[in-house]
């Protein structure tokens, strides 16, 4: 089965052999690095280049979501962690079911799929495993 396409192509690249890369944008002029990818640098305005970020970081904050809009792909309760990547940017992602990372914990990002059939998309989640 072909891997599902990414839910957000500015956040990850999925390749035919089912591998994936975490994407960011780096400014060649000032070095500022962001996630997800942006076309221009928010510090100096130059055109950025897309780079691969290491999918590891540290938990800055976390919550367990109990109430969502009905169209959200995840069924509550589910965890959400804010992670500072070792490469600098900060992102929020859902936490892998059954895990409960604490502030300051070292974590990794992993790929997981949401949706069914043609609507299936690959997204990112936070996990304590393999970090």
């Amino acid at each position: 089965m072909m891997p599902a396409p990414p839910l957000d192509a500015r956040r990850m690249r999925v390749t035919d052999d089912d591998r994936w890369d975490l994407l960011g944008a780096r400014c060649p002029a000032c070095g500022h690095t962001v996630h997800p990818v942006r076309v221009a640098c928010v510090r100096c305005g130059r055109a950025t280049e897309v780079v691969t970020l290491r999918p590891v970081g540290t938990v800055v904050a976390s919550t367990v979501v109990h109430t969502t809009r009905p169209d959200v792909a995840l069924r509550p309760p589910f965890g959400v962690a804010l992670v500072r990547l070792v490469d600098g940017p900060v992102l929020a992602a859902p936490v892998r079911e059954g895990e409960d990372p604490a502030h300051g914990d070292r974590v990794a990002l992993a790929a997981f799929d949401v949706g069914e059939g043609d609507e299936r998309r690959r997204a990112l989640q936070v996990t304590v495993a393999g970090s």
Binding site: L7, T67, A92, P94
Partner: protein, 373 residues
């Protein structure tokens, strides 16, 4: 530079008004504001109209219903729309472009949780991560951990808010709650419970902004500073969990007004969720970092306390019709500064007031305004 005053303020009550249009509500707020100012529609030279959900030109149609035929500038800056509108109005009057203008804010909102503040972010939107309660819950979790604060102290902000709302007939939520009620209401995103989240409301507010007139009619409240920044430029090492944007704006606004944080007698801050009030009260320098929730629990930020915050119930209880919120904050401060706040009037009529309004989303505007009588 021309001195600018707010001469009149008006508000259509916040709440659910399914039978009233935005235009109906705007007409009520505008008439009230013009009446307080001793002015009339024909003196209005321009209208700066904030709304976050209305269709393009929505403000233009609503303002016409109020009988105003001056040119209308529609401003969409999410939850900070009418505060950004105020900043434009103040700049225009200061520059002598206009003598007298109106700032209007309104919103008609549906029920239920708002969609993402980043509509072009499929990741955050589809996974529910960008929902405002989740973003504020992350702030709350960071805050409780960093400053060793109890969830009950955060919940005390909502108890205080509801008490203020009961003193404000224009507030959406009229309800007495205890700490146990707040902590026991359904969890939305840990540690935030339902009563710690602002409701979606309908409402409108209006301000008459003009070149200051000595010995004139009206409220005669001076705008000492009204400053805007976006949030991305100030992103800090804590991932923006505190409110570095507000702290920077406050420093600049106090300098422009020639005051210090100690001079602020009453404040309105963006409490879309309880941690919003705490973080922004601290960022404005009105209480020490890490003490905002404990000050609420101790009654210090109540209307009867030594640093009254959100005396009209704030977004949590007055309600949060996005485009109307910033102007409504100014309405309350003008009423407080002129001794018109009725049952919720703080003691010793204040002289200096500050408002803080945040737009949702990572690139949205934050506005800090200093008023004085």
């Amino acid at each position: 530079m021309t001195d600018v005053e707010i001469a009149g303020v008006g508000l259509h009550p916040f709440g659910r008004f399914p039978d009233r249009s935005a235009a109906d509500m705007v007409a009520v707020a505008v008439a009230e504001a013009l009446s307080m100012a001793g002015s009339e529609t024909t003196r209005v030279r321009a209208v700066y109209c904030g709304h976050g959900l209305a269709t393009s030109g929505g403000g233009t149609a609503a303002v016409l219903e109020a009988g105003v035929t001056a040119p209308v500038v529609n401003v969409d800056a999410a939850c900070a729309s009418s505060s950004v509108a105020l900043s434009l109005a103040v700049a225009a009057v200061r520059a002598d472009q206009w003598d007298e203008v109106l700032v209007v804010g309104f919103e008609k909102m549906g029920r239920g949780m708002l969609r993402s503040a980043r509509p072009h972010d499929p990741f955050g939107d589809r996974l529910g991560i960008e929902a405002q309660p989740v973003q504020y819950a992350l702030k709350a979790s960071w805050y409780l951990d960093r400053y060793d604060v109890k969830p009950a102290d955060l919940a005390a902000v909502a108890v205080k808010s509801r008490a203020h709302g009961l003193l404000n007939p224009n507030a959406h939520i009229q309800q007495h709650v205890t700490l146990a009620d707040v902590l026991g209401s359904p969890v939305v995103a840990d540690p935030l419970t339902r009563f710690q989240c602002s409701p979606t409301s309908d409402g409108a507010a209006a301000l008459v902004v003009r070149r200051a007139r000595p010995r004139a009619h009206g409220a005669q409240v001076r705008v000492r500073s009204c400053r805007v920044e976006n949030q991305l430029g100030a992103q800090d090492p804590d991932a923006g969990l505190g409110d570095a944007t507000t702290a920077r704006l406050a420093t600049a606004a106090y300098a422009e007004a020639g005051i210090g944080a100690d001079d602020v007698d009453v404040a309105q801050v963006h409490d879309a969720f309880t941690p919003g009030e705490v973080l922004r009260t601290e960022a404005l320098g009105l209480c020490p970092e890490g003490e905002g929730a404990r000050w609420a629990a101790a009654g210090r930020t109540a209307g009867t306390g030594d640093m009254p915050v959100n005396t009209d119930g704030g977004l949590l209880s007055r309600g949060h019709p996005l485009g109307a919120t910033g102007a409504a904050q100014i309405v309350e401060l003008v009423l407080q500064l002129t001794g018109r706040a009725g049952a919720r009037q703080v003691e010793r009529t204040p002289r200096t007031a500050v408002s803080q309004n945040s737009g949702g989303g990572e690139n949205a505007a934050t506005v800090v305004t200093v008023l004085a009588r």
